[in-house]
């Protein structure tokens, strides 16, 4: 799946024509100053694509081919749950996609913001003058996570390799008990607190007094906006792919707008019986891959590409993984705005990662609280909440799905596309991640 994306990446120059079209439409409304700084290289997003985010169970690949092989200097991929056999999945995907085997590739991991990390690493490489064009992306195969033998069994198997005589081997084999055979699933719980993310999200929602109805409403909003975007063909970053043995998939298959009554029927998924987080107001884990081509502005122009957006300031933050696990956006937003010299009202397009409806609502409330900003963030005042008219207008992780490693690129690409479509100047991406970490990035529209 990842290699397919890389293939499509290579053919991205086809996007010129429609990019120009949107450019004309929106150029009139852009009047704000640019964030370009003297001495700092302009780094641009040239293209972003993704496979449809599929509910676990339908995986496969489709090949798209035909692209110049020397366009890229480096490849970085983000992933969360690593397959032992492809621990550097970026390298395998790159070669599988027919990129030159002379292009180095590495894999990064930072939970749900892994592909954000891949992109910002790419920005770093370009800014440092190491590279001019980097492909960054993320990939996740939730339907085929590696399941390990239990530690006892692993120990026995490893000693079996070392056993010299048949007697030793037999006695080791004889030591295997039923308990040895039970497999270990990869943990979905935080390592440091042993709490699952859904449980933490439920507590977070309760801490900020987010009601079940508020959460359900937000989830319905996400699904209906996604549906609308899909129907009006706005989700153009999606490329079709063929599931082996099944049909071609060209749409996200998790978008299911439903009524509030249906939503209200669901039982809480984590804290029973009084919790508020349900399956319907949480993002669902899917397979999926996404990729972006990032270049220095000169290189992109020299190669005849029409960039989509500038990638400007970005920050990473981290906080208490127990009680503030999912508050990354609250911490990262004011910080990145400060760096960019912008305020909340300057931003035209918001794309926040929707891990849980309750998490988004809690973040919105935290960003609107002077008390929280002063007591926990050491800031003088609150940063304020984004206007809902600008917020995740094409759906989000709640409706499109959330392949851990691939969501970041989707957010950035969506911001670029929305800036063009809606004619805005600045976009903001923010996301939370396991381990109590967070990320935010400011994106500026490319002048048309």
């Amino acid at each position: 799946m990842a290699s397919m994306l890389l293939n499509s990446m290579r053919s991205c120059s086809v996007s010129h024509s429609w990019a120009m079209r949107f450019g004309k439409m929106s150029s009139s409304s852009v009047s704000k100053k640019t964030l370009a700084r003297p001495g700092v290289k302009n780094i641009v997003l040239v293209e972003g694509v993704r496979t449809p985010f599929l509910l676990s169970g339908t995986t496969g690949l489709l090949n798209r081919t035909g692209v110049p092989k020397d366009a890229v200097d480096y490849i970085i991929y983000g992933t969360v749950i690593q397959e032992v056999k492809t621990s550097n999945v970026a390298r395998e995907a790159a070669m599988g996609a027919g990129f030159s085997d002379k292009i180095p590739a590495h894999t990064v991991t930072m939970a749900c913001i892994s592909s954000n990390q891949a992109m910002t690493s790419a920005v770093g490489l370009i800014a440092a003058g190491q590279c001019d064009a980097v492909v960054a992306g993320g990939v996740e195969f939730m339907s085929d996570v590696p399941i390990r033998h239990s530690r006892k069994m692993r120990k026995t198997m490893l000693s079996l390799n070392k056993a010299k005589t048949l007697g030793q081997k037999l006695s080791l084999i004889g030591s295997i008990r039923m308990a040895h055979l039970s497999p270990e699933l990869p943990a979905v719980a935080e390592f440091s607190t042993a709490e699952t993310m859904g449980h933490s999200a439920d507590r977070l929602a309760a801490a900020f007094g987010v009601s079940r109805v508020e959460q359900d409403e937000f989830a319905v909003r996400s699904h209906s906006l996604a549906k609308k975007a899909q129907e009006s063909g706005l989700l153009e970053d999606v490329i079709s792919f063929k599931v082996p043995g099944r049909d071609i998939v060209s749409k996200d298959n998790g978008i299911r707008p439903s009524s509030m009554e249906q939503m209200a029927k669901l039982k809480p998924a984590f804290i029973k019986p009084h919790g508020t987080v349900t399956a319907a107001n949480s993002s669902f884990l899917t397979d999926g891959a996404s990729a972006v081509l990032i270049m220095s502005e000169e290189k992109a122009l020299a190669m005849g590409y029409k960039p989509k957006a500038y990638l400007r300031d970005f920050v990473y933050v981290s906080q208490d993984p127990k009680d503030q696990l999912l508050l990354g956006p609250t911490y990262s937003t004011p910080k990145v705005l400060e760096r960019a010299g912008l305020s909340m009202s300057d931003i035209d397009v918001f794309e926040f990662h929707e891990a849980f409806a309750g998490q988004i609502m809690a973040n919105l409330k935290a960003m609107d609280s002077d008390w929280f900003a002063q007591t926990y963030m050491g800031r003088k005042s609150k940063v304020g909440t984004p206007s809902m008219d600008k917020f995740n207008l094409w759906g989000g992780s709640l409706s499109l799905g959330h392949p851990f490693g691939a969501t970041g690129c989707r957010l950035v690409t969506t911001v670029a596309h929305r800036l063009k479509k809606e004619g805005g100047q600045y976009g903001l991406v923010a996301a939370c991640a396991a381990g109590g970490q967070g990320h935010a990035m400011v994106i500026e529209a490319y002048p048309q």
Binding site: F191, S192, T193, A194, H199, D202, R203, L204, A206, A207, F208, G209, I271, H274, D320, K322, D323, Q324, A362, K365, A366, S369, W371, F372, T375, Y376
Partner: protein, 722 residues
């Protein structure tokens, strides 16, 4: 007091005069009024009972209220009023939900179990329990009657006889709590406030659910529960349980504590003869127990413990953030163990790699045992350990706010270490010395900054023994003392602050008693018999075993040093008995042989056969006039007590309360007597002096009562404790 939210009344308890809520006469009165309002209000279908105090539901009954009663009848009446009120709660036509966050103890738990439903937070501060037995009392407001019905006989006995705290998740498993709520992190309010609000919201939902019959009150019993109930329906089985529990209590308490036996009696009466008889037995026995000397002693210790958990020297100017410990032996590593998990950066320094490795392993093992007991996670263990630095040099000592040395007890080594440390640390750094007998003045003699030198006497094993004896010299500054006390409190210690002198307070009291114990052995009493005599008096550990635990070499060392300092008053047994034992390698438990033989894995300890020969060599003739079992007991105890009183007379001790706490928590003085000073008060100074005079006639000045004791003997109205 009560706020009505829709059809649910919320009763919020908040005692304005105290940090915790207690069941007092005033509170009981108000509660009855509020309950009356709830029952009378037709719009209300159910109620929630919650505390507005973070970390406390109800901490128990007001002890002062019980102590203020003149006689047993008055206390029994108090108990009856409590019973009556909770009976009304139990029979309430409108369901009452107890929403528990923080300590729910004693009367608080009895209140909660009288309610129809209990919701508790999973916070670490939420504990449920019936600690009355530790104060020599019993749960006197229906607890002995309701608890067995609720959690079954075995669990009820376990709770009431041990008085231990039960955490919320365990309480849920036992059936003590019906519903759990997660504590919340920060939101738009502080975590504590928000958690209470959240608990209230959930409890209101539950109350509404019960009133609407959506939440059933009787839970479906599990198969194990049914089997247990079936077995318990046989009188024979129940009698067997009473017998076993009774036997256990007798074995552990030696019959010195009346409360556990009364608890068994109350439960038995309730189960076998019905609630009327049960409640009557409970209130009567509660009244009687409240007026026993044992209860007074235990309550005294409780008050003392609370007082010794406060810093009477004020807040130190500078908080200790980095603590360095010299010597990674049993003591040093033990101190590290109780420090590192309090978020203090701890440096553990030794001179040899092997010693350091052993010490670090001890700290790791202590934490790992906690992980096994699931009181901390393995992640927390590792993150705590990251605060510990093990090293062989003085690197980083310039950042230390306090250095505690726990090197070998030798004045020359202590001097060398003190000079080395003062050369590398900042001028603000405090130098604390952990010694059991060396005078601090002498150690401080070589210091450039004697105002920064203080003694911190820990007791082994440090992680188990609650006491810390802090020793100040006349040069020690007040801020240094405040800082040492603050560190000790952080380590979770009960602290007494005493003046300087050979043996300070604790060692000085113990030494004459051990000297007497050696004499008793020389007079032909078997170590096992000696142990039995002391434990029967109420000491948790027998005198011979205690000597083995302390170490025969340490005991010999101390006996010799203090003998030199105090002369013949510290005589009695021949120090050479101990010295000969040390020469033969009988150093106590650590060397495998002492008074007893210690074999790893074996639980039965046998008397060391070779000790007989030594005692034979030093045999003394026993004087039958002062050698009855009781006389031997009082010979041991009176020397201890006399020395303690002398410490107060000489100003080593600041007050009798600290003397009692030090003796009980550091040396195992019988808790049933509440410490040497309370013992004098309750036993009678005159009677004690009379006994001592009799012993004095035989043995001489070792039994001469000190002046303060004589003063008390002359005037019976003089008491150490009011």
């Amino acid at each position: 007091f009560a706020i009505v939210k829709g059809d649910v009344a919320v009763i919020r308890m908040n005692d304005p005069n105290s940090k915790v809520n207690t069941l007092s006469v005033q509170m009981q009165k108000e509660m009855i009024e509020v309950m009356g309002e709830v029952w009378a209000d037709n719009a209300v279908n159910s109620a929630v009972l919650i505390s507005s105090k973070p970390g406390c539901f109800i901490a128990g009954a007001d002890i002062n209220m019980i102590q203020a009663c003149k006689d047993a009848e008055e206390v029994a009446k108090l108990s009856q009023e409590g019973q009556k009120m909770f009976e009304q709660v139990e029979k309430s036509p409108k369901p009452i939900v107890a929403a528990i966050n923080g300590s729910c103890l004693g009367g608080g738990l009895e209140f909660a179990i009288a309610c129809q439903y209990r919701v508790a937070t999973k916070s670490k501060k939420t504990v449920l329990g019936t600690p009355e037995v530790m104060l020599g009392l019993l749960p006197g407001a229906g607890g002995t009657q309701r608890l067995p019905k609720m959690v079954g006989l075995p669990s009820a006995f376990d709770m009431m006889l041990t008085g231990r705290n039960i955490r919320a998740d365990k309480a849920k498993k036992m059936g003590l709590v019906d519903h759990l709520v997660d504590p919340l992190g920060p939101g738009l309010k502080s975590p504590e406030e928000r958690t209470i609000d959240y608990l209230e919201e959930i409890a209101i939902e539950c109350a509404r659910g019960i009133a609407n019959k959506k939440i059933p009150l009787r839970k479906e019993k599990g198969r194990m529960q049914k089997i247990q109930d079936y077995i318990m329906s046989f009188e024979l089985v129940r009698n067997q349980i009473y017998k076993t529990v009774h036997g256990k209590v007798m074995k552990q308490s030696k019959g010195l504590y009346p409360a556990p036996l009364k608890i068994i009696e109350c439960v038995k009466t309730g189960v076998e003869q019905g609630p009327t008889a049960g409640y009557l037995a409970e209130s009567q026995n509660f009244g009687q127990l409240a007026k026993t000397t044992e209860s007074a002693a235990l309550i005294g210790l409780y008050h003392g413990q609370v007082a010794c958990k406060k810093n009477r020297f004020g807040t130190p100017e500078k908080e200790v953030k980095t603590l360095a410990i010299l010597g990674a032996g049993l003591m040093g590593a033990g101190i590290a163990q109780v420090t590192v998990d309090k978020g203090v950066h701890t440096i553990l320094k030794d001179t040899a790699l092997a010693g350091l490795a052993r010490g670090e392993q001890q700290v790791y093992k202590g934490l790992n045992d906690k992980t096994k007991k699931k009181s901390i996670t393995s992640f927390q263990r590792d993150s705590i350990l990251s605060n510990l630095t093990g090293q062989l040099d003085y690197k980083g000592f310039e950042k230390a706010d306090m250095v505690i040395e726990a090197v070998f007890e030798d004045i020359n080594i202590k001097h060398a270490v003190l000079k080395e440390v003062e050369a590398v640390v900042s001028p603000q750094c405090i130098f604390a010395t952990n010694t059991s007998a060396l005078p601090i003045k002498e150690i401080a003699a070589v210091s450039k900054r004697p105002e920064k030198v203080i003694g911190m006497h820990y007791f082994s094993p440090v992680d188990k023994m609650q006491l810390l004896e802090i020793i100040t010299t006349d040069k020690t500054s007040k801020d240094t003392t405040a800082s040492a006390v603050a560190v000790g409190l952080k380590q979770g210690k009960v602290i007494i602050v005493v003046g300087d002198g050979p043996g300070f307070y604790t060692t000085r009291c113990l030494a004459p008693m051990l000297a007497e114990a050696v004499r008793v052995l020389q007079e032909g009493v078997d170590p096992k018999k000696l142990d039995a005599l002391t434990t029967n008096f109420g000491f948790p550990v027998g005198a011979a075993t205690l000597a083995d635990e302390v170490g025969i070499d340490v005991a010999a060392h101390v006996a010799e040093d203090l003998g030199k300092a105090f002369g013949s008053r510290f005589g009695g047994g021949n120090v050479d008995v101990l010295k000969t034992m040390v020469d033969l390698g009988f150093k106590g438990r650590k060397s495998g042989k002492g008074c007893y033989v210690y074999q790893p894995g074996s639980k039965v300890k046998e008397v060391n056969p070779e000790i007989g020969d030594i005692l034979e060599k030093f045999k003394m003739a026993a004087n039958p006039a002062v050698s009855s079992d009781s006389d031997v007991q009082y010979r041991l105890v009176s020397r201890f007590v006399n020395e303690a009183v002398l410490c107060l007379q000489e100003g080593i001790l600041n007050n009798p309360l600290e003397g009692d706490i030090g003796a009980v928590f550091g040396l195992g003085f019988p808790p049933s007597h509440g410490g040497p000073f309370r013992f004098v008060d309750s036993f009678g100074a005159d009677k004690l002096v009379e006994k001592m005079r009799r012993f004095e006639a035989v043995y001489g000045n070792q039994f001469t009562p000190c002046q303060l004791l004589l003063d008390h003997a002359k005037n019976s109205s003089k008491k150490f404790h009011k």
